[in-house]
Structure formats: structure tokens, C-alpha cells
């Protein structure tokens, strides 16, 4: 067993323990039938081999999905390729670039409602939990009057996604799926009148094939939860890293526009919102030199890979001096064919939030005495709350 077990251990900065484990071996058994890949090379090798290391047979503890529920992260090529090709144009860099003014407007609207006395406020509740949901709702074309209810179901689904016991969520999940199915059917009736993602999915055709209604429902459900939970974790993890590294914060405040891209990438590398993902062996195979039978699972540790010294010098240092144009891509967006579809949107959301927070909130900082608690979760990695404060009043958007 490794010193740090991502399934059972939930600590704020496991970097020394992870380094100790990585130095011993690229693979460790972390549970019965589950090994962990902990080096940059071992994780990218698994990503590159979807023929053997299947997503369809289980990327989380829930195991293989039913037909129709095998979508995107839960699908293998060629099914995955067909679904992904339908979606990439809708989430392309150019289309996401065009979303930036809308993201900026939402972030400014959110900050306008911050208390004038400087709080303290919970950054999760007041910003990180709001923005990604609002933007994905808009992209999907969810009617305004349905967004609040939908958000509740999304949060429930996110909690259920990494829970070992699914029974308590069964009834709510059925209601959620029924709601999404009604939405899909309604949109299918007038898809040509809309220019949103749901309309695109219900009318999309590739090689004379269309998506099943169930596939569309599960893709929408996936986009709603994946986009929201990861971006809010990425924002608050980055803020916490910056606030606990005063020299890097001073460097950032001196050149916010020049360093925000580096802050986004270093924040994702240093403490990304996902601990890692599972893959399941489709055939008998090997991890390193160790034989693994069909059905074995491997946990690809993003924490381990992103702190691997063979990929990043001084990996346990949070540094805005890194030049990511000369470094391998961090794995917080995954790799290979399963590279995160929302990466372009997430980067824009993080850039706008991290710029606007530090420009409009004078002397923004962690609340006095605040010590964050890691949120217990198998796959996610972020804090329960992020209490912050600033010297009110909030600067007007026109002043920055």
C-alpha cells in the first residue's frame, strides 16, 4: 500500500507522501483489484491505450454503464469518437472565445452583489458555484425558469457520482432523468428554431447516424455536472494556492493581465479539482511488468502525475515563473482522446474570475483564521468552503 492512498486519505497537501510513493514505484495497489498509476509517464501511457484500458467498463466506482449511458467519458472508441465529433465544433476554441464577454458580464454581475463591507463570504457559494452553472445553462439553452431546479439536481448528481452507495439517490436521479428527457423531447420538436447545444444534439447527424434519445439525455447530464463541479474546484484551489504563497501573490498583483494565463495553468497543475480517474482492463494486460487480469482497475493519479519531477522541475512548488509553453501539458484536463471537452470554456471562466476578483476586490484575502477542510470525495479534490474577505466597497466594473 502507498503512503498516500487517494481512495481513503483526504489531506490538504499530500505532495511529500505522493513523492515518496512515486520514488518507490510507478504503480501501487490501493484497494482490492485497484492499482494506482502515479507517474506522468504511467498515466499518459494508460490514456494512450483505450483499447486495453477502457472507460466504458468503468471510470468510477459505479462500474459499467448501460447501453445509452455510455457517453463521452464513459465510452470507448468508436462510440466515443462519434459522440465527440458531434460536440467538438459546438465547444470549439473560436466558439468559446466568443463567450468571453458573456462570462465577464456574469462575473461582474456576481461581484456587484458582494457585500459592501467586505464580508467575509464563501467564494464557493457566492461565485464558484454560480458562474459555471449559469454559463453551461446558457450554452445548453435551458429556459430561465427551469435553471434553479436543474441546479439542485446537478448538485445531487455530483454528490452521487462518487458515492459508494447509490441507493439514497435513486428516486431523485429518476426525477432528474425524467426532467431531462422531457426537455430533450420538447426541444426536438422545434430544434431548427434554436442555436443551442441541446438543439444541436437532438438534430446532429454523423455518417447518417443520430444519437439515441438516451444518449442525448446522458450527455446533457454529463455536461451539466462535469462543467460545474470541476471549475468551481479549480477556482477555489487556485485562490487558496495563491493566497498561501505571498511572494507569488505579490508577483501576480503586480501584473495580473500578464500572469493570469500562468496562474490558471499552475493552479490546475499544482492542485487540480480532480484527484484522478479509473480505467478498467478490457483484456488481460500488464502494468509495468506486473500481469493484470481482465477486469482489473487502475486509478490514474493526476495528483501524482502533475507533481512528477520528471515532467515539472520543483513540482511541489507553486510558481508563477513556470513557462508552460516549454512544459508538458498538465493532466488536470486529462489526455488522449478523452481530453476534457470543456477545457476551452473552463480556461476562459478561470481567467475572467481570477482577473476580476483581484482587480475589483481591494485587498482580497482569506478570512482571518480560516482553515479550509478538504471535501471528502473519491474523485474530486477541493475544499468544503473558501471563506474570503476584502476591504469594501467593491470597486465598480468601470474602474478596472
Amino acid at each position: 500500500m502507498p503512503t498516500f492512498n487517494p481512495i481513503t486519505d483526504n489531506v490538504s497537501a499530500p505532495w511529500p507522501e505522493v513523492a515518496e510513493d512515486r520514488a518507490k514505484c510507478p504503480y501501487h495497489q490501493i484497494a482490492d483489484g485497484i492499482d494506482e498509476a502515479i507517474t506522468y509517464q504511467s498515466v499518459t501511457d494508460i490514456y494512450r491505450n483505450p483499447q486495453v484500458w477502457s472507460s466504458e467498463l468503468g471510470v468510477d466506482v459505479a462500474g459499467e454503464k448501460a447501453v445509452g449511458q455510455k457517453i463521452l467519458s464513459f465510452a470507448d472508441p468508436p462510440l466515443h469518437t462519434r459522440q465527440r465529433r458531434l460536440l467538438v465544433k459546438a465547444l470549439s476554441p473560436a466558439r468559446m472565445d466568443a463567450m468571453v464577454p458573456r462570462i465577464q458580464q456574469e462575473v461582474d454581475d456576481i461581484i456587484d452583489r458582494f457585500p459592501s463591507d467586505g464580508g467575509p463570504i464563501d467564494l464557493f457559494e457566492k461565485m464558484a458555484g454560480l458562474l459555471p452553472a449559469r454559463i453551461i445553462h446558457e450554452l445548453l439553452g435551458i429556459p430561465e425558469n427551469l435553471r434553479s431546479g436543474l441546479q439542485g439536481w446537478t448538485e445531487m448528481e455530483t454528490t452521487a457520482a462518487t458515492a459508494f452507495d447509490q441507493a439514497p439517490f435513486k428516486k431523485s436521479m429518476e426525477e432528474y432523468l425524467a426532467f431531462l428527457t422531457d426537455l430533450v423531447r420538447a426541444r426536438k420538436a422545434d430544434a431548427e428554431e434554436h442555436d443551442d447545444l441541446v438543439s444541436l444534439l437532438v438534430s446532429a447527424e454523423v455518417d447518417q447516424e443520430v444519437l439515441l434519445e438516451t444518449e442525448v439525455v446522458w450527455i446533457i447530464k454529463f455536461l451539466l455536472s462535469a462543467g460545474a463541479e470541476t471549475t468551481k474546484g479549480a477556482l477555489t484551489n487556485s485562490v487558496y494556492a495563491l493566497e498561501t504563497h505571498p511572494e507569488e501573490k505579490a508577483r501576480y498583483l503586480a501584473d495580473i493581465d500578464g500572469l493570469v494565463d500562468t496562474l490558471v495553468e499552475e493552479g490546475l497543475r499544482f492542485d487540480g479539482p480532480v484527484k484522478g480517474l479509473l480505467r478498467t482492463a478490457r483484456t488481460d494486460t500488464e502494468l509495468g511488468d506486473i500481469p493484470k487480469p481482465q477486469g482489473s482497475k487502475v486509478f490514474m493519479s493526476f495528483v501524482g502525475a502533475n507533481h512528477d519531477p520528471s515532467a515539472y522541475p520543483d513540482p511541489d512548488q507553486f510558481s508563477l515563473e513556470r513557462d508552460f509553453s516549454h512544459l508538458p501539458s498538465h493532466l488536470s484536463f486529462g489526455a488522449g482522446v478523452h481530453h476534457c471537452l470543456g477545457m476551452n470554456l473552463a480556461r476562459h471562466e478561470l481567467r475572467v474570475m481570477l482577473t476580476t476578483i483581484y482587480k475589483r476586490l481591494p485587498n482580497f484575502r482569506l478570512a482571518d483564521g480560516f482553515a479550509p477542510e478538504p471535501k471528502p470525495a473519491l474523485l474530486w479534490r477541493h475544499w468544503e468552503t473558501m471563506m474570503v474577505t476584502y476591504d469594501g466597497p467593491v470597486l465598480p466594473r468601470t474602474a478596472v
Binding site: 499518459t44 494512450r48 472508441p77 469518437t81 465527440r84 465529433r85 467538438v88 465544433k89 470549439s92 476554441p93 473560436a94 509553453s325 508538458p328 501539458s329 484536463f333 489526455a335 488522449g336 482522446v337 478523452h338 481530453h339 471537452l341 477545457m343 476551452n344
Partner: protein
């Protein structure tokens, strides 16, 4: 086939079997994931957040199967390879 600078669309080239190869990177879709660079660093390089095809490629010795793998593995469907399947 030699180009002076990395490019998104080099001129048509010929592989070792005399077959024409065309490789194209759609910069409207490329998101700079470096997938192609990891798969086939002799051909692809990522610069300014986009993938490019290196200059001075010896296409006659290019691994067409690997190029096809790069094409199908590009998560943004940004790489197009026109070449015989084998």
C-alpha cells in the same frame, strides 16, 4: 518536401511507397493539447497554443500508420491525414 517554417498545411508530399500524403491542422479547432506532439514529435510541434507541422519533414520515411493514429487520437478532430490506409 521541405517547408521553411512550421505550417498548418504543408504542400502535398509523397511517402516511401510513392503514395501522396496530405496532413492538415485546423487551427479553428486545435486547442493545443499536445496530443499530436506526444504521439509523433518528429512531425508535430505545439507553439503559441496551436499544433504545427515541422519544416523539413522526410515524408518518404513517415510512419503513415502513426499519422493515422494521431488523426484519430486528436481530441478536437483538428488533424486530417489523407493517406492510404496501410
Amino acid at each position: 518536401m521541405v517547408t521553411s517554417e512550421p505550417t498548418a498545411t504543408p504542400p502535398l508530399a509523397t511517402d516511401g511507397g510513392g503514395n501522396e500524403i496530405a496532413v492538415h491542422v485546423d487551427h479553428g479547432m486545435c486547442s493545443g493539447t499536445r496530443n499530436c506532439e506526444r504521439y509523433y514529435p518528429d512531425i508535430f510541434v505545439v507553439n503559441r497554443d496551436k499544433a504545427w507541422i515541422k519544416s523539413g519533414i522526410e515524408w518518404a520515411s513517415a510512419d503513415v500508420a502513426l499519422l493515422k493514429e494521431v488523426e484519430s487520437a486528436c481530441p478536437w478532430a483538428a488533424i486530417e491525414v489523407e493517406a492510404p490506409a496501410d
